[in-house]
């Protein structure tokens, strides 16, 4: 075969691996300071047992991807949790603040690198979850409204918060607040 691909579009020759367009909004320390001003934090990372994984998945209806729970006990009461969910292209790390009763008191999206749906890090969308406790139903397009062009991110963040609330109930709450 003699083949001269003289018309191969230049655009198609552009190789992947260009600059990272992601945006890091907050470090963990910055998120802690925002969500619990003036508090100190004691790291209490936990490794989930198989039974705990099953209990969390049963309670939340969401698969557990990571058996390591990144948790900090807060000096003023409550917990600071960090997790990540799958976005359209990248992982989306986020932090959740729970008050001493296990209710959501704040959420921060630490990084968001997707083409659309940057509103997921804004308070009008995040406030939908505030006050929710373990056992609360959190379903996209029902209790939680969607964002145009970011359905996958919205769904996975919603699932991630459900999973953290269940994790609190199964793992952290029995050990006190």
């Amino acid at each position: 075969m003699r083949c001269r691909f003289t018309l191969l579009p230049i655009a198609a020759l552009i190789l992947p691996g260009g600059p990272a367009y992601g945006t890091v909004y907050l470090s963990i320390q910055q998120a802690q300071a925002l969500l619990f001003p003036g508090a100190t934090f004691q790291s209490e990372t936990r490794t989930l047992s198989d039974d705990q994984v099953k209990a969390i998945e049963h309670a939340s209806g969401v698969p557990v991807r990571n058996h390591q729970v990144k948790a900090w006990r807060v000096s003023t009461g409550g917990w600071f949790l960090v997790d990540e969910v799958v976005g359209k292209h990248e992982f989306i790390p986020f932090a959740v603040a729970l008050d001493r009763d296990g209710a959501v008191k704040g959420i921060e999206i630490l990084e968001y690198r997707e083409a659309y749906g940057g509103q997921v890090r804004e308070q009008p969308w995040l406030e939908q979850f505030y006050g929710k406790r373990p056992g609360a139903k959190l379903r996209l397009n029902k209790e939680v409204r969607n964002i145009s062009g970011a359905t996958l991110s919205c769904k996975h963040i919603t699932d991630g918060i459900s999973r953290l609330l269940a994790t609190y109930e199964v793992v952290l709450a029995p050990n006190g607040h």
Partner: protein, 294 residues
């Protein structure tokens, strides 16, 4: 897309995880995307042959569930003693040309323009199965093709594992004789495309596609002319601003003679009629004009 039904360089529904199989994603309302496709087809049963089809497409999200696209297709080819009984045979987009059997043939031309609408009825992220309907009328010199497609998508494992399935129905109307005004039914393309994709690393997906392309000399699923099966891998990279998708597909040696098959088109189990070849390589590049700035 173009032109030839089976050859389906049609546009995709938003960012394509596959080279040939469409998924149900569409552009968000008010967002633009530009795509450039390049599909190279090469190797017949005899002689030498290549065809390069280039497609440029602009897509716009009319609503969050309806995407409209405009596209332009242009192609280049070279053929020599590549067809049945070693006669030089141009590929389907150039089938209006009839070179001498032992002549070398090479040509570049504009093929067609298309409009494309994709309506997503069910999202795979919020429903058990994603469903989209696709319609694409194509017009070119001596050619028109209204193509319809049903797109199904099923996601697993946090939407990282994606199954796609398409059914395509596309009657082709061509002016087959130089001195006639008749734009007559040339054939009807019936395609079954399927693929499985897995996001194995952030930004990166790998897939396999398997598809069957059929041509019939009727509108009602009778008088089969050709049926060819293709299998191959795809690699896809995407970030918030652009994506690249590269697919290689090889025809499987499963072709047989049917009621309307052109004599000499089947060689050692491969269908080498003018819309089929042994190998295809497709590269897609897309740019999100509407990506949010942060």
């Amino acid at each position: 897309m173009v032109l030839t039904g089976l050859w389906q360089p049609s546009a995709k529904a938003d960012e394509p995880l596959f080279g040939f199989t469409y998924t149900t994603d569409t552009q968000p309302k008010g967002k633009f995307e530009l795509e450039q496709w390049s599909t190279t087809r090469f190797t017949k049963g005899y002689g030498s042959f290549w065809l390069q089809d280039n497609l440029t497409e602009v897509s716009y999200g009319v609503t969050d569930r309806f995407q409209f696209s405009l596209q332009s297709d242009y192609a280049s080819t070279s053929a020599f003693q590549n067809g049945p009984f070693r006669a030089t045979t141009p590929p389907e987009p150039f089938s209006f040309d009839v070179p001498l059997p032992d002549a070398r043939y090479a040509r570049t031309r504009f093929i067609s323009v298309s409009g494309e609408g994709i309506f997503r009825m069910l999202s795979p992220y919020t429903h058990p199965v994603g469903l989209a309907l696709y319609f694409e009328p194509t017009f070119g010199p001596g050619f028109s093709e209204p193509e319809g497609r049903v797109i199904l998508q099923k996601d697993f494992r946090d939407d990282r594992l994606v199954l796609g399935f398409n059914f395509t129905y596309a009657p082709e109307y061509r002016r087959l004789q130089p001195n006639t005004k008749c734009l007559c039914l040339s054939e009807t393309d019936i395609n079954f495309d399927s693929g499985v994709s897995y996001r194995f690393h952030r930004n990166w997906s790998a897939a396999f596609e398997f598809f069957n392309e059929r041509e019939l000399a009727s509108l009602n699923f009778t008088n089969l002319i050709n049926s060819a099966y293709y299998l191959g891998p795809t690699v896809h990279y995407a970030n918030q601003n652009f994506f690249v998708t590269v697919t290689f597909a090889e025809q499987m040696p499963w072709a047989t003679v049917h009621s309307n098959t052109l004599p000499g088109a089947i060689v050692n189990g491969y269908d080498f009629d003018n819309d089929f070849e042994k190998y295809r390589v497709r590269i897609k590049f897309g740019w999100n004009f509407g990506a949010e700035k942060r």
